[in-house]
């Protein structure tokens, strides 16, 4: 059993609870339950009802879904300090992905009922949750705008921004999970654009020599057909006279 102080420390890392007063934190810590998972053990599956959020205390988990053939697709890997399932706590939707431990893992579980109780007692938490969501929204929107602009450039064959912008994922310690996800999206987007650019350049390099053949006999025959008419003979004489006249006028 872990120390309550450690639990408090983990919970304080979350934006939602960072400003929580001592007494409420104490109440919260009491509601939280530690869950141990063995490697390959499932925490929850996609489509299940979401009744709790989890904070990873130690170990590593993978977030998984299935592709159209039913094979597992790993969406993400998360480690200590990261939150899982917080959305389902608020919107009552089924789990959008499953979570499976990759190693021996401990998570802290906070049930919806306890969380809601806490909100009633301390409306300040609700405010902090709302504030947190709206700043995430603002942050996400600004990136959606950025990616929209960049997509437009790519559509017009302009890839210049990939060489100018910061493409790498941020390694700073204090970035939130959300920022990391956006960084990953940006990194993937840049990788995609670079891939498209390279393939396009390769395609341009694969030049082909045009194969063509002129039927010289047909060429001669057609030329003779055109130039053997009376009209043509007259035209040739007229054209000559006209050119001579135009040269004189210069």
């Amino acid at each position: 059993m872990m120390e309550n102080q450690d639990t408090a420390k983990q919970l304080k890392k979350l934006d939602w609870f960072e400003d929580l007063p001592e007494d409420l934190m104490k109440a919260l810590v009491e509601k939280v339950k530690e869950v141990k998972l063995n490697a390959n053990e499932t925490l929850f599956s996609k489509g299940e009802k979401g009744e709790a959020l989890f904070v990873i205390n130690s170990g590593l988990v993978k977030i998984v879904t299935e592709d159209s053939q039913g094979s597992e697709v790993i969406l993400n890997q998360l480690g200590p300090g990261e939150v899982i399932g917080e959305m389902a706590l608020l919107d009552n939707e089924p789990r959008s992905a499953g979570v499976i431990a990759l190693s021996e893992t401990t998570v802290l579980e906070l049930k919806r009922g306890d969380f809601m109780e806490l909100l009633k007692q301390q409306p300040g938490i609700a405010l902090s949750v709302i504030r947190n969501f709206s700043s995430r929204m603002r942050y996400n929107t600004s990136y959606i705008e950025k990616i929209t602009e960049m997509s437009k450039l790519v559509a017009h064959g302009d890839y210049s921004f990939v060489d100018l912008a910061r493409p790498t994922s941020s390694q700073e310690e204090d970035v939130s999970d959300q920022e990391q996800k956006i960084d990953r999206l940006l990194a993937e987007f840049f990788a995609m654009v670079r891939g498209v650019k390279e393939r396009e350049e390769d395609l341009k390099k694969q030049v082909e020599k045009l194969a063509f053949q002129i039927d010289q006999e047909r060429r001669k025959k057609e030329f003779e057909e055109i130039t053997s008419t009376e009209f043509y003979s007259k035209l040739k004489v007229q054209a000559k006279a006209l050119r001579a006249k135009r040269t004189d006028n210069k």
Partner: protein, 259 residues
């Protein structure tokens, strides 16, 4: 005396009218006095690029050929009707005239039945050069080698043959080049249009130049951008940085370089 620039292609669909309109507009943008005459009486089309339609089209080349008006009465100053499109708007202060062909079915079939009076067409061309004091008169011709087209080749100072890089166009171009030589055309250029992006341009240029003994002035790519925009506006004026426009610009420079 102004120069007559005939634009020709052996088959239809090479982008001839579109290229002619854009070339003429580019030349006009350099401050030259430019005329465009649509001698494609059977299937006129270039008027659309200059914003003319059945409603605002006044006198035409057909009226002149039938003795109903003087040639300069059929010359339409493009800057007077640049209303809606962005590319055309750039021609606001330029001297660019279009002598359109009639788009009335009745008048087209009349010409097809009666044929064109060459002396009259020739007289009109020479008159308009003098009266409008043109530096360049572009002639948009009917594809193939019919009699009006042969006339426009015969009187041209510069002939630009547009071809796509395919066997049929290349074969037809060979015949046209021979005819142009036989008619003593002093300056002959080839312009390749609708080239696939992966074509070896240097190879194409050198082999065409060897085969035809004529300069390849530009190799314009096949692009959806042009296809989408064509017949709505002057693409090269609207998108001067596009590869298609840049290659067309080379053709314009070749024309301007002729003393």
């Amino acid at each position: 005396m102004g120069k007559i620039v005939s634009i020709h292609s052996f088959r239809g669909g090479t982008g001839k009218s579109n290229s002619t309109a854009n070339l003429a507009a580019e030349v006009a943008l350099t401050g030259k006095r430019v005329g465009v005459i649509d001698t494609d009486i059977q299937s006129p089309g270039i008027h659309v690029l200059f914003g003319l339609d059945v409603v605002n089209m006044g006198k035409t080349l057909n009226d002149f050929l039938h003795g109903k008006c003087k040639i300069n009465e059929a010359a339409f100053l493009v800057s007077e009707n640049i209303a809606s499109s962005k590319g055309l708007a750039k021609l606001a202060d330029q001297k660019l005239w279009l002598i359109p062909s009639s788009i009335q079915a009745r008048e087209i079939s009349q010409v097809l039945k009666e044929g064109v009076d060459f002396n009259r067409l020739n007289e009109g061309i020479q008159t308009i050069l003098n009266e409008l004091e043109l530096d360049y008169l572009f002639i948009d011709t009917h594809p193939g080698l019919n009699e009006e087209t042969l006339l426009s080749i015969a009187i041209s100072d510069i002939l630009i043959i547009i071809l796509r890089p395919d066997d049929q166009d290349i074969q037809g171009t060979a015949v046209t080049v021979d005819v142009a030589r036989s008619l003593d055309v002093p300056n002959l250029f080839l312009m390749v249009n609708k080239a696939l992006p992966n074509i070896d341009r240097n190879d194409l240029k050198s082999r065409f130049e060897t085969e035809f003994q004529a300069e390849v002035a530009g190799i314009l790519p096949l692009t959806f951008d042009v296809a989408e925009n064509a017949s709505k506006d002057l693409f090269a004026l609207n998108y001067p940085d596009h590869e298609w426009s840049q290659e067309l610009h080379k053709v314009m420079e070749a024309i301007l370089a002729i003393p």
